[in-house]
Symmetry: D2
Subunit: 351 residues, 4 copies
């Protein structure tokens, strides 16, 4: 049995590289050899024990690679073809998938999120892809691994936040938190036609990146009260859409307070602890507010669209790759990433 290296969740506080068998593809499945992957904030939640996964699980859900094996019935692809797979892998054939809720595949909350959660993930040399027909997407010629590395998760999620917000041409949009997801939401808001995009964070370098990706105004909350500033910028009107990209009571609540009556709070964060709806900001339920949560859209059609956005040059997220590691060094990569040292945004991991 051939083996490979894989980053495995051992116990809270410990992810370690271990040897595992290289997977083989059953019917409808594929195996891809990973050429580049990355670490997500959710992986850090797993490492910290804040999001439970089974010990022994290979972590990671942002794969870029090459097709190594195609199971029975997987057609239209070739061995050696460069592909990505979304973090979310809908089957396409269950009730929620057929009803347009592909991220909730199978009908269990977040059921479409399998990699590094309910099945082995991609921080490894090889990855077994379920429902390959719905999920493998060829990388267009001329795009590098790093150019498409954000497509499987953060680009899809961040853009999804802008999409779920129902942004209209001429909208004012605020995005609270400018980590990788928030930055992608900022880029997404621009892509949907917002005319004033306000990015809020406490890290100057992230705000600078936000400006490059589309923010018209940035607010450093350590220096300026965001709500006062937002109301000043909007003439007291509030924003049309507020995107939450961190997962805390404070950012959630700030979004709600920043909204105009009739506005939409588009929530991307993974919350822990408690979450409450302040009734003054919620107008006691009379404000025609909308709160929409969005899990990363997946599937090959989504990946195709996102890579087209990259290929068109509309959005360039490659500068978000600030550090590079070999798979062997993944424990160092986690250490850097989880402590947000050295201005890290995203790391590229190559086996």
């Amino acid at each position: 049995m051939r083996t490979m290296k894989a980053a495995v969740f051992i116990r809270p506080g410990r992810i370690a590289l271990e040897d595992k068998p290289i997977p083989t593809a059953g019917p409808g499945q594929a195996v891809i050899r990973i050429t580049t992957t990355t670490i997500c904030g959710t992986d850090v939640h797993i490492l910290k024990g804040e999001f439970p996964v089974q010990p022994g699980r290979t972590i990671g859900h942002e794969p870029v690679g090459v097709i190594a094996e195609l199971g029975a019935g997987v057609t239209g692809y070739a061995l050696g073809q460069r592909v990505i797979v979304g973090a979310i892998t809908p089957c396409g054939q269950c009730y929620p998938c057929l009803d347009g809720h592909q991220s909730q595949c199978g009908g269990k909350a977040a059921g479409g999120w399998r990699f590094g959660n309910t099945i082995d993930g991609c921080q490894a040399e090889y990855l077994l892809v379920p429902h390959a027909m719905s999920n493998l997407e060829a990388i267009p010629d001329g795009l590098t691994d790093e150019q498409v590395l954000m497509c499987p998760d953060i680009m899809s999620t961040g853009f999804g936040g802008a999409e779920s917000g129902g942004i209209k041409i001429g909208d004012t949009v605020v995005i609270f938190a400018q980590g990788p997801i928030g930055l992608c939401a900022t880029a997404g808001a621009k892509l949907r036609g917002a005319s004033m995009i306000i990015a809020v964070d406490g890290v100057a370098a992230r705000l600078e990146t936000a400006r490059k990706l589309g923010a018209d105004v940035t607010i450093d909350y350590t220096k300026t009260d965001p709500l006062t500033e937002i109301m000043r910028l909007t003439g007291g009107r509030g924003v049309d859409v507020a995107i939450e990209a961190l997962g805390t009571q404070q950012t959630f609540e700030s979004c709600l307070r920043a909204l105009k009556p009739g506005g939409t709070l588009s929530s991307l964060g993974v919350y822990s602890g408690k979450l409450s709806l302040p009734l003054d900001a919620f107008a006691a339920g009379l404000g025609d507010h909308r709160i929409i949560t969005t899990l990363c859209p997946g599937g090959k059609e989504r990946m195709r669209r996102l890579m087209n956005v990259v290929a068109s040059g509309r959005v360039d997220l490659q500068p978000m790759v600030t550090h590079r590691f070999k798979l062997d060094q993944i424990e160092d990569a986690y250490d850097l990433f989880m402590h947000q040292r050295d201005g890290v945004l995203k790391v590229a991991i190559t086996p």
Copy 2:
């Protein structure tokens, strides 16, 4: 100066009939002589001091009447014409109105709700109607006052809850609480094509009315755990849409727990105290949940549509009028209504 009787908010705990001048219509306004009106749960909140209005304000926002005066520029109507006016009176010409947020007229939360809130209301002999061109709607021949009495508020609100839920043909919908608003939401869910409608309340008579209005299944929460029963009825799937029609943490939370991943919580209640989002039911933000609040849609186009629904016989809400009072007896009517005595659903008040 001619005077009229009006039910006036004096202080928390006291609404009393007083003499007030009969209003006169300025440009763009109209005065209607009230022929029938009713009391809303929100009026009880005002009476109890839970929703603040200025002392001296005439209460009431559900007018049926006859045009007594038309101000300059109000055309297309005739004195003596029978009309209704929605509880919400959008101007039609401000930014939110032109942007499709008529209930949030003027840009202040619930800004379109003026009657009995920011201007005098209709529990009186006469009512001054602002923005008359947007708001007066003639009653179709053959419909009685009581047949259209629910149109200005609870029918519009309840149907709005079903509409905001985005109900699709074949959906399963639960409505928590079967007071007047919840009953209208039940009727609205049927009108949108839900195939299984589950109504929850603790009062047998209300559940019986719910069945008449469209509920396929009723759950008396004093006898059966609603969530267990809902999961049983849906084979563990959860409902597509859950409508909250009371305004409490418990009903809000139950709605969230009843939802399938990807489902919509359509909130109609006026909340007080605190409101929190239980993170397990909210899937930590990963469940593609949607929470939509809806304030009663108003304006003459809405009233036209709702009266057409009544005229077509699709929905008959007149049986909800369980008690009748003269305006002189309005204090008795409040007493009955706020204590929910004698199976009261809605009262008809006639000057």
Copy 3:
């Protein structure tokens, strides 16, 4: 090799019963033994040579049956289970399917329509079902074959016409032609909350059925000019939604002329010959008109929803089965159906 009887397209003008091998299920496929099926207007187009299919093709796309064989990878079903399959059989895994265009599966126009078109259909003793995981749906206990016989095509199509029209509560809707599809569109319009439904046809019995299924007003175009009458009924306003259910220039054009500015023409017909847009009715392109065509939605989730509508008693289409035949008599059934003799609406065919 076991054989079965199948109604086969021989050449224009001739469909005949022939012996064919009973199909066997490959991976992802299933075979069902047909217990009831029916004939569709489209089958008549095929018979007449107006819609080309390959000689030798088994006709029919409205199957009700029992699972006879499950191919590899088809799970969650049991042999002997009673099921239906939609006329349209989306794979769920191609780009259009994942993008919400399941009827256009594979990206070819009407690509999801396979049965009796690009593969053998169900006017036979057995049917091979492709993409079984997306398409087999169990019949709820207590529903008969005839109760669900309309679900695979005409109920899904007719309701789809109402859904695509974007009907809102209180809308006025006209449906031109009250054949089986138009009748289902009438029922669908009621299910979506239209408050005035106008059904147009030239056959009194069909108009009577239309009234039973939800039409408030019927117009016999042989006696009354529909457009004059529609404008009278709507006070010159025109209808909000006009549904075309025949596929002719005249009905298409009448729909357009009946519409209010800003209205939606929801087209269900299969057109032949020529189709033109009269520019006066189209307001030279300035009328904010919408023309939406809808191919029968398929897939098991759709079938589940439609059977729930039947189970709830909201809509009862069984009375549309006016005649019954054995598969052996299918040539007689075609003869009756294509000549619309004896008040036929739909026939039930049982092997």
Copy 4:
């Protein structure tokens, strides 16, 4: 009585400058002194007698100016304030306006288009603005007349074409014809997140402008067959959205032929003569096609949004102003514009 110069439709073939009384503002109206205006393709249709207006009508519907008079009840504005008014002037208070069909104000097709059509327009020194509260919008500080000159019509129309197309992130969009409206639709498609925008025209300079405004690919139809090229570019898939921006059978039909099954034809042109739907491209009605026509959205909220887009620098349409004339020279301006001489795109007219 003070008089002013106004460009008046005399008879087909002749628009001439005449003296007219300066209008005065009745209740709810305003008069603006025009500082800049322009000529639209529709004005040329009027001049040619292809679109009928009453002789004596002042032409023009793209006003930029200064408030000269405010009628009774018009509040929130000041004399001397710089404003624009949309080409379409919804009242905000009629049934269609309250129902979201503001361009169809009053319920007559294109009823919201009044200027230079049913009332006097803005190719004059002064303009009477109806429904001023719904329509006057202050120009943000720092924007010049020419920067906002496209907002009242072509920017609103062109963007409207992109919006009505329902463009999603990653869509492929083709725009047939790159006159002023088509160029704005190209800019609008980019603003909504299309990743491949294909612009078709026969004039090299217009294609070059298209590239500046967002086109990724341009096709000169005099040299290359657009449909062949579109199918090549999309791998045979067809486009998601095709925008028609000329108003001819050929462009309309090409749009339909370029579409994928399930795609949307967003139509902006003003058609004359005949318009037919080729059934092969229309898949006989089975292709889930959508044809949406859009009349220029108006009202002050729309103008506010569009000027915000200009202010943000997202889209710069000022380069479309290729020629400048005094109002005295307007007959020359018409001559240049209607013959499309000298690379004219839009002219600025200043009284």
